[in-house]
């Protein structure tokens, strides 16, 4: 029998003093940005009935039974819980709802390349607004959140599911072929895309080439213009126009330098209905944030609300900042109040006075002489010493 008393479960970790302070600072900065943009923070339970997630509950989820044999799941995603919350408790009232959250999520993953089984997300959901204005707000909010966290260099790749759906329609894809196409995009397999394109028949050569190039369709506005010249399917054309409109608005916010179009972008979560995006940092080999529009999700909860949002992986952002040397674990307090035998009441008064001035103070719990106190200051990470002789 292995003694598990001292181990944390696979895929979880403790966050130590100093590290936690840095993390809290980043969390606060992000939530503060959300608040400044008009978002209400909400909190949902750490576990839900499996039914809430429906088909979204995947093999990797942590499931368990309650006392009535109902199947519960530790939440692995926040969009379903937020949808449930909105449908049950926030229905009615303001037409446009802005919600945000900071939550621990759970999924069984191989802990490689930064994935953990317990991971923290900071996210937003903008409900009740279709259209480019809402999408642009979400994208710029992601930019601002990353900047508030201290990230300097990043890029946001922006795509649209209807560009892909539209192309598939134009190519006359069957349901199975569309599924296969999405799998290739999810796996980022340009070779399989090339093979798929080669096998296509009765199709315009320009469209055939587009399929082969789909993962390489990255760039700025000139890319959209190029596509407009080639693509005729109405769904795809609308997607391009939607992207152009979003881009123009992001420009108005002054954030377009961070944006790149990536028309082959297809995220693992199947519920997107419009634009979708991912954010990449140079220090990390995988995206640190992602989101998009998902107008259909609310229907599962009996409502007809368009929705758009994103989530940011707090662990990944913290990791990136640490790697870039920008997030030092810092432990420091203003003053150590130490005291000689019998002088604790005065020391307490001294500490209280300092604290009411807004100082951070550590009060010794035992008497010590001045020499010992002077040595203790460094050990307890205080900037100064107040000694009561």
């Amino acid at each position: 029998m292995i003694n598990k008393v001292y181990q944390v479960p696979y895929g979880t970790k403790d966050i130590l003093p100093g590290e936690m302070k840095t993390r809290r600072r980043i969390e606060n900065a992000i939530i503060d940005v959300f608040d400044k943009w008009g978002y209400d923070e909400v909190k949902t339970p750490s576990f839900e009935y499996v039914d809430t997630f429906g088909s979204m509950s995947a093999k990797g989820d942590f499931r368990f039974f309650d006392r009535n044999n109902n199947l519960l799941v530790l939440r692995s995603d926040m969009t379903a819980p937020i949808a449930r919350l909105t449908a049950t408790r926030l229905n009615g009232g303001e037409k446009i709802k802005r919600l945000c959250y900071l939550a621990n999520l759970y999924r069984y993953e191989e802990i490689q390349a930064g994935r953990q089984c317990e991971f923290e997300q900071a996210g937003v959901e903008l409900l009740g607004a279709s259209g480019a204005a809402a999408d642009a707000e979400i994208i710029v909010l992601a930019v601002k959140a990353l900047q508030a966290a201290g990230v300097k260099q990043f890029t946001i790749s922006l795509g649209h599911v209807d560009f892909i759906n539209g192309l598939a329609e134009e190519a006359g894809f069957s349901e199975n072929q569309l599924v296969e196409l999405k799998n290739c995009l999810r796996r980022h397999d340009a070779v399989a895309m090339q093979q798929m394109a080669d096998a296509m028949q009765n199709i315009r050569p320009e469209i055939k080439q587009l399929f082969a190039d789909l993962l390489f369709l990255q760039g700025g506005s000139e890319l959209l213009a190029k596509m407009r010249a080639v693509v005729t399917n109405p769904k795809a054309v609308n997607a391009l126009e939607n992207l152009a409109a979003i881009y123009e608005l992001v420009q108005a916010y002054g954030a377009s330098e961070y944006l790149t179009f990536d028309l082959g972008l297809y995220r693992s979560l199947d519920y997107y209905t419009g634009m979708l995006f991912e954010a990449y940092l140079p220090e990390m080999g995988y995206p640190v944030a992602g989101g998009g529009r998902y107008d259909k999700m609310m229907q599962d909860f009996g409502l007809n609300y368009p929705a758009t949002g994103f989530a940011l992986g707090v662990d990944r952002v913290v990791l990136a900042l640490e790697r870039g040397g920008m997030a030092q674990a810092v432990r420091s307090w203003d003053a150590l109040v130490a005291w000689n035998e019998g002088k604790l009441p005065e020391a307490i008064a001294k500490a209280a006075a300092l604290r009411s001035e807004g100082r951070s103070v550590k009060l010794c719990t035992e008497a010590m002489d001045l020499t010992a106190a002077a040595a203790a200051v460094k050990e307890y990470c205080c900037s100064g010493l107040v000694y009561v002789p």
């Binding site: 790749s157 397999d189 340009a190 140079p282």
Partner: protein, 216 residues
């Protein structure tokens, strides 16, 4: 670090061809050899860095972003299922994964091989193959000399890479089914592919031109 393109090269069969192909599109450095003591070799002028890696480790370097791109066989990619971008089929290093049994022990149908032991260096690929056939087998993972399996009584079958088939014949093994054909692929890290897109896109296009010329 960010201005460099770091390439993971696989030691072994693919090394020389990979190096020469990259040289043809302007990605080269001095003294890049398979047995080099220096495992990281840079070219300051062109901002290219080579990492010489064990073949099976190339996808790991690329997935983590330690290398922006790498060259690796599709067989290794299929076995490891790493989250990388597969950019281009480079065409060389062609090999085939197949199932073989001792010539004397051939059976009538593929499904007759159910519940037997399979020695292989590719347990994931083997499992997937037998799942598709709908039969259960016991996978015995070995790291080399797979043909020894049936000879020493470790397994009844093997799933292994074959090129000419000479090794099979010499060990009196007969190929019973072909599983897939694999060639060398150019792979990239997901973030590098977005952040260094212009350079990597150009590399892919230049390689396409070179490969096309070589075909003729």
């Amino acid at each position: 670090m960010n201005e460099y393109i770091t390439i993971a090269l696989p030691k072994g069969k693919l090394f020389n061809k990979s190096l020469r192909l990259l040289e043809r599109v302007g990605y080269s450095a001095e003294n890049v050899t398979e047995d080099s003591r220096k495992l990281v070799i840079s070219n300051e002028e062109t901002k290219v860095r080579f990492i010489i890696a064990k073949t099976v480790d190339v996808p790991t370097y690329v997935e983590y972003g330690a290398a922006d791109i790498g060259i690796i066989g599709k067989d290794v990619l299929l076995e490891q299922d790493k989250d990388v971008v597969e950019l281009l089929d480079l065409g060389f290093g062609r090999c085939r994964l197949m199932m073989a049994v001792p010539e004397a022990k051939r059976r009538g149908k593929l499904t007759d091989y159910a519940h037997l032991r399979v020695a292989t260096k590719y347990p994931n690929c083997a499992k997937a193959y037998f799942n598709k056939l709908g039969i259960q087998t016991e996978i015995v993972k070995l790291n080399g000399s797979i043909e020894l399996g049936p000879i020493v009584g470790l397994s009844e079958m093997i799933v292994d890479i074959v090129e000419t088939g000479t090794t099979l014949r010499e060990n009196k093994l007969a190929e019973v089914d072909s599983i897939f054909t694999a060639t060398a692929r150019l792979i990239a890290n997901r973030a590098s592919f977005k952040l260094k897109f212009a350079r990597l896109h150009k590399l892919v296009e230049d390689l396409r031109v070179v490969l096309h010329e070589e075909e003729k």
